[in-house]
Homo-oligomer: 403 residues x 2
Amino acid sequence: MTKLNHHFQKLRDGYLFSEIEKRVSAHQKKYPQACLLNLGIGDVTHPLFPNVVEALVKASYEMGDIQTFRGYGPSDGYDFLKQAIAQNDYSGIALDEIFISDGINTDISNIQEIFSIENRVGIMDPAYPVYVDVTVMAGRTKPLLKTGGYGGITYFPCSEGNGFQPEVPNAHVDLIFLCSPNNPTGVTMGRENLTKWVRYAREHQAIILFDAAYEAFITSDAPRSIYEIDGAKEVAVEFRSFSKSAGFTGLRCSYTVIPHALKVRDAGKIQSLNQLWKRRLDTKSNGVSYPIQKAAEALYTQTGKRALQETIESYSQRAKILLEGLRKIGYSVYGGLDSPYLWCKTPPKIRSWEFFDFVLENAHVVTVPGFGFGCSGDSFIRFSAFAERDAIEQTLSRFKALA
Amino acid sequence: MTKLNHHFQKLRDGYLFSEIEKRVSAHQKKYPQACLLNLGIGDVTHPLFPNVVEALVKASYEMGDIQTFRGYGPSDGYDFLKQAIAQNDYSGIALDEIFISDGINTDISNIQEIFSIENRVGIMDPAYPVYVDVTVMAGRTKPLLKTGGYGGITYFPCSEGNGFQPEVPNAHVDLIFLCSPNNPTGVTMGRENLTKWVRYAREHQAIILFDAAYEAFITSDAPRSIYEIDGAKEVAVEFRSFSKSAGFTGLRCSYTVIPHALKVRDAGKIQSLNQLWKRRLDTKSNGVSYPIQKAAEALYTQTGKRALQETIESYSQRAKILLEGLRKIGYSVYGGLDSPYLWCKTPPKIRSWEFFDFVLENAHVVTVPGFGFGCSGDSFIRFSAFAERDAIEQTLSRFKALA
């Protein structure tokens, strides 16, 4: 008789965003006339840049011509895109240290496969829910704790008390998920703190899985890459994406950096994580669509860079308007400066799903309840500035009316 | 200290096609003047159909216009594509039984995640190497057997003796990989044989993972879908692809069917495999690129269907020429009728890598050594008819000269 992966049963019911969708759709049935404002799911609103569309179209025509048609590409991506990334986003990263992928979700979910089940996992709290869910699915967790978290995971609380900066633990952890600027808090890890984490990982022979999905939004002098920290290449994998900065959420392209310097001594042998990941990709993937990789390459032209800069500035401006507006009404709000996300405290004694429902019911505004990102998030809701400017201004007037 | 997934160490060195690439590139250095003919890796040679390019271009422009831009799509694909699939490729398959993916490799590699490690896996021998490799990576195998196979896997030999038809085993197996038309033998499973397998799976409460990547090439009356067999919906998952038939190897689009009727009784609960897979996708994937799904949809228009038919016929004709030519020279050759692949017996006492090397050295023709597909393949090489007609004719004259 076929047996299932029992660990799936340990997952909380439904995926956060599916639950939100369900409540929103019930709300829409109840109020068919209401003008719903969605500041929930972090999907972009700006279309693709004209030069990106041009590159997509050109590559599409190439694929229709026998002279220029391309079949299977490299499982880890074309060199033309890797070259653009290596030249523009890093210094001292080799092409074969870069792996092109169809999304950070894919890579950050799958990279755990190359590690043993026995590793102890550490995750920021609150955090993007995928880190916890893939840890559960793989069977690295133990029964639920009284706090509501999973046994077997070491949580790094990020709260008002520590300025939302995760602190290195006293205990030992093997695999560390860090996200900066963090989703959902919108707060970036400072250079000093990140240095502490790199030192911790070196001392503990741990590995940092660094999710830099929102690095393009950093305006402060906080590190945009973990490799800005000395010694990080020996202990950290970095994940980056074109989704939010360049509006690629519907196109699907991202990349992962695994430096050759990242070696793991295991079972008496020194092994290269880069090689292990390559072996997995060669077996399980046929790489990313050629036209999509050409589209991503176009982001690195002068025209592409300018458009990217303008888009980021436009989103950042909206985040700033929302941040200042909510604070003016009297809310305690964090993030929104280096990030499109704002982390807004709920009124005293009101928990996050309750406040989510209240806001949806009374202001017709969709947010994300902080509890969906972990126990530490239960007195917050997340706003996303990926919305039309008008929607942000309307949200502010409706919140003013609520107060 | 971070520990690695030790199962990766059990994989044979390098991926089959990487090893071939290495030898070919050494050969090219040795004979820079030689005209190399590649009948090895199964990559297509026809470019995308004009109406597919048109759909790609149109969708690219949509993505550049704020009125028609699309961000995140459903993790399991857009309904417009599912609708086309349900209407054209099946009868009685619902939209939410179809999962759009970026390639069969991805899905067939990842579906094992939703099953327990304890399941006994059965695989055709010879077979596409990914089935074995993902079983090894997941830790479902035991030490190597004397035959060269992996302990813990039940092999279903496909040989001249049984007409390359895998036979249902006497012992119990939980997860069964079947591929028809099989890669590499090019032989299709007959209706009677497939019926035996469905009956076996029902009796053993086993699940069949049915790889139908090459179904479009079937010209005989063999089943193109496992769901043509009564009772298959309760025991089988089917994987299909646009790669080979429509030249999507560089675009990346495929789909997987998991009927609602496929339930697994495990740990005292009846669970839906469809729901389990959906949960995995919701967490680990953001779906397939919108323009690529629009391109796939275009295959189901009248124009698309006609182009597909013509392409298949052209590849089939080449396979036939190669089959007849090789037989005329005196080789024992199988497949090539329902499939773009031909399975050619090596001369007596010559093993497959040896014959691969001989053919490369003396005829400058790239093939694939049968051993790469399993122990039963060691007295065969695989030819692919995904090549220019001229290359096929030249291959035949060079082989004639060798004989």
